[in-house]
């Protein structure tokens, strides 16, 4: 496995390593510190999203009918497509890390470009979904309007039968009002996740620029690896968001 590009020969010895910060003893210590640091950061991210997941869980427990009915207003198709887009971008990011480790400059840039395109695709689909919510008055606030016999449902063939509506109202007379809580948390969760996607796009573009300057090699790929870890976490969070917000409604 001849992974050492010839340009690396000049550095690689600790005493002259330009990538070694002065307060570290050697590259091994520095790399381990950086990778451990990113994992600790990811742990804080889990707790950060955790607050919203807790809110989701509590209100789901309190208002199961409202959450089921509200969730059925989301488009599962868009959700599936977005999941696939994000999973694919995770794959290309993993391949980018692989290329960086092997020292393939062009493939590294290529895979990162594909990742960014997927990320933009994800945000594009998300904005289509959000704008549908605006049109259907499903954005929490003064214009929020959630009725069980919504005409949009009849159009898409998901209309509720009279019995279903009656039983839902019998269990929770305020089901239409409580449905707003679902959309509150829906927008908070997908919004916060979207912010993370945008940050990811920024970081990856920055990495593309740095890779274009030839900064990375098989001996120096830590920034790419850390970017990859972050991007995979964004994917993992979506893996949980998808069933929670799209798939709880079926019954």
């Amino acid at each position: 496995m001849s992974t050492h590009a010839s340009t690396d020969a000049q550095h690689g010895h600790a005493a002259h390593d330009p990538h070694l910060a002065h307060h570290f003893e050697d590259r091994a210590q520095q790399d381990e510190a950086h990778s451990l640091g990113l994992w600790v950061f990811l742990a804080t991210e889990i707790m950060f999203f955790g607050g919203l997941f807790l809110a989701f869980t509590v209100y789901h427990v309190l208002f199961p009918d409202a959450f089921g009915l509200a969730s059925s207003r989301l488009s599962v198709d868009w959700g599936v497509i977005n999941t696939i887009v994000l999973l694919f971008s995770s794959f290309t990011m993993a391949m980018a890390v692989h290329s960086a480790q092997k020292g393939h400059q062009k493939r590294l840039i290529g895979y990162m470009v594909v990742t960014v395109i997927c990320a933009f695709g994800f945000m594009g689909i998300k904005s289509i979904e959000w704008s549908e919510k605006f049109e259907h008055h499903l954005v929490p606030g003064p214009n929020f309007e959630f009725v069980l016999d919504d005409p949009h449902l009849a159009k898409s063939g998901h209309a509720l039968t009279a019995e279903q509506m009656e039983s839902a109202l019998a269990r929770d007379p305020n089901v239409e009002r409580h449905a707003q809580m679902f959309f509150v948390i829906y927008f908070c969760l997908t919004g916060l996740h979207g912010v993370h996607v945008l940050i990811g796009i920024g970081v990856i573009i920055w990495m593309i620029i740095r890779a274009g300057r030839g900064e990375f090699s098989s001996r120096w790929s830590t920034p790419i690896e850390l970017t990859g870890l972050y991007w995979h976490l964004v994917d993992v969070i979506w893996i949980y968001l998808f069933p929670l917000i799209y798939l709880i409604h079926r019954h």
Partner: protein
């Protein structure tokens, strides 16, 4: 500077301090000059000094608000402040003291300064993130101060919904400020964890770490696991106020108790963020001034981790009378008693260390001994409050206020004062005036007890907290309390004055004025920018005071 070149870092100090008292010509304070070199520094020691200055300012602001509160309570009538003004004063006191002083004080000042020194490292793992955390602290604090000045906040430091989402005060900027300070705290804890894991000197194994490092490590765990939760919570409050989402609003089916769960999931462990580093300081002071190895090292070390972990299991005891399910209340109550165990382990081990020690009463030791007594009272009354039945009686009374201040002022603040005096020679290179130090320690101890002991009594009798008017039979306690607070205020002002003076004009301290063990004493005072001229190699545990035995006898016979 012979100490730096010595082979064994723990066995170098053999001569009396006066012969070594050399002020290093080049050190971290004067290596580069100009305000830019300070504001753009990545040196953990300079960042610690920046934090020292700014947290002291926060302490003064918070103290000013406390003075307003105590003055108002001198008489049963609301004559100094209106009810609204009083609400804003105690909220300002709480927000500033908790988020801008208690949480960052020990970790960001002493922790920042000492962690790399105690580990034999050149700096923290992420120096730039360390500087970023100070800037976040400044931005967040500025927002909080802005909220207080521009109209004030009247929710208390807890921001309970639905009041905080409906009141017409500056909750948004205060909440965003708390959010940003939270990230400063996350970055600090994050840095410490990586540094402790990856940057220890050769030979410095986990069980040779000073106990201060253990407690800072436990604190950092709470910071990174808990702080994100308060971040997202106050963010939700801010968003709810901005666009009326209704996450916690009962009118939308929202659950105000959810806010309290989220809030206390962080904020109960956060009181351990405040007190655990204090425990660490005491664990350093007691062996040094008792001239003995610490008793039960591994128990103290593990109890720090246990407190950090168990601290996350008990938050529900703040919700006993908020409408939480009584079943949950009983579970949380039982769990809350568990946390008394690791805390008691520490107190027993400190006192066991004192036993048969040759104790001297320098200023830091006075603070440490006062700490043990006052923290004991604070901790034990905490168990009262953890019992559901008794809590129903004393909830929202001055009993809670007194308990909290016995832990936070009597505990954390005294430990912090002890730590600042103990490491002042290391930070500044100069000694503080010993006599004034002892006077201030005694003044603080007396003032503190006169301030807060009456609050236990009146709280138990039923004086509710957060009222600016009260029935006149409580006046005697309030007058006592305000009188004590004046003494306490004087006690805290003294060190600010004489330490500032000693920073510039105090006698030169030398590398190790207390003949203490620990790597931080093996380098010059103040240290050089890279901390050690040669990376030390450690071969013994952290509190080998037996090495000073002969020297100690000489000092005592004089």
């Amino acid at each position: 500077m012979s100490s730096i070149d010595a082979p064994n870092p723990y066995q170098t100090q053999t001569r009396p301090q006066s012969q070594e008292a050399v002020f290093p010509l080049v050190n971290y304070l004067n290596k580069t000059g100009g305000w830019k070199s300070w504001l753009l520094t990545a040196d953990h020691k300079r960042i610690a000094v920046l934090y020292l200055i700014t947290t002291t300012l926060s302490f003064l602001i918070g103290g000013l608000a406390a003075a307003l509160v105590r003055l108002e309570l001198l008489t049963p009538q609301g004559d100094l402040l209106s009810a609204d003004g009083y609400n804003k004063a105690f909220s300002a006191h709480g927000i500033v003291m908790v988020f801008m002083f208690l949480v960052p004080a020990v970790p960001a000042v002493l922790g920042n300064f000492l962690v790399p020194l105690m580990l034999g490292a050149k700096d923290l793992a992420f120096p730039k993130i360390n500087l970023l955390s100070w800037y976040l602290y400044m931005i967040g604090s500025a927002l909080c101060i802005y909220a207080i000045i521009a109209g004030g906040v009247d929710t208390g430091w807890t921001f309970y919904t639905p009041y905080s989402t409906t009141t017409n005060t500056n909750v948004i900027s205060a909440a965003v400020g708390v959010f940003i300070i939270g990230f400063s705290s996350i970055f600090t804890g994050f840095n410490f964890i990586i540094t402790v894991h990856k940057m220890r000197a050769p030979g410095l194994t986990w069980f040779r770490l000073p106990l201060f490092i253990w407690s800072i490590y436990a604190t950092s765990l709470i910071m990174i696991l808990g702080t994100p939760v308060i971040g997202i919570t106050v963010l939700m409050v801010a968003v709810e106020r901005l666009i009326h989402l209704g996450v916690f609003d009962p009118a939308f089916g929202g659950d105000p108790l959810l806010f309290q769960h989220l809030f206390w999931f962080y904020s109960h462990p956060a009181v351990y963020i405040m007190i655990l580093p204090g425990f660490g300081i005491i664990s350093e002071l007691i062996p040094c001034f008792a001239r003995r190895n610490i008793f039960g090292y591994s128990f103290i070390a593990m109890s720090s981790l246990a407190i950090a972990m168990v601290g996350f299991f008990v938050w529900g005891h703040h919700l006993f009378v908020s409408g939480q399910s009584p079943y949950a209340g009983v579970v949380f109550s039982a769990l809350s008693f568990v946390i008394g165990i690791p805390t008691a382990i520490k107190v027993f081990n400190w006192t066991a260390t004192l036993y048969k020690g040759s104790i001297s009463f320098e200023t830091p030791m006075l603070f440490a001994l006062f700490f043990i007594g006052l923290f004991l009272v604070g901790g034990m009354t905490g168990l009262f409050l953890a019992a559901v039945g008794l809590d129903v009686h004393v909830h929202d009374t001055y009993f809670v206020v007194a308990h909290f201040h016995y832990v936070m002022v009597g505990g954390m603040m005294l430990a912090y004062m002890g730590g600042v005096h103990f490491w002042f020679p290391k930070i500044s290179g100069r000694m503080y005036p010993e006599f004034l130090g002892r006077i201030s320690a005694i003044t603080i101890f007396i003032g503190f007890n006169v301030t807060f002991f009456p609050q236990f009594v009146m709280g138990y009798m039923g004086m509710p907290r957060q009222y600016h008017e009260y029935v006149s039979e409580y006046q005697v306690y309030h007058v006592l309390s305000t009188a004590g607070a004046s003494v306490l205020g004087l006690g805290f002002m003294m060190p600010i004055v004489y330490l500032t003076y000693a920073w510039f004009f105090g006698p030169v301290a030398g590398p190790n004025p207390y003949r203490a063990t620990g790597l931080e004493w093996q380098t010059s005072s103040p240290p050089v920018t890279e901390n050690f001229l040669e990376i030390p190699v450690v071969s013994v545990g952290p509190y080998e005071y037996s090495q000073f035995k002969e020297d100690d006898e000489v000092v005592h016979s004089r």
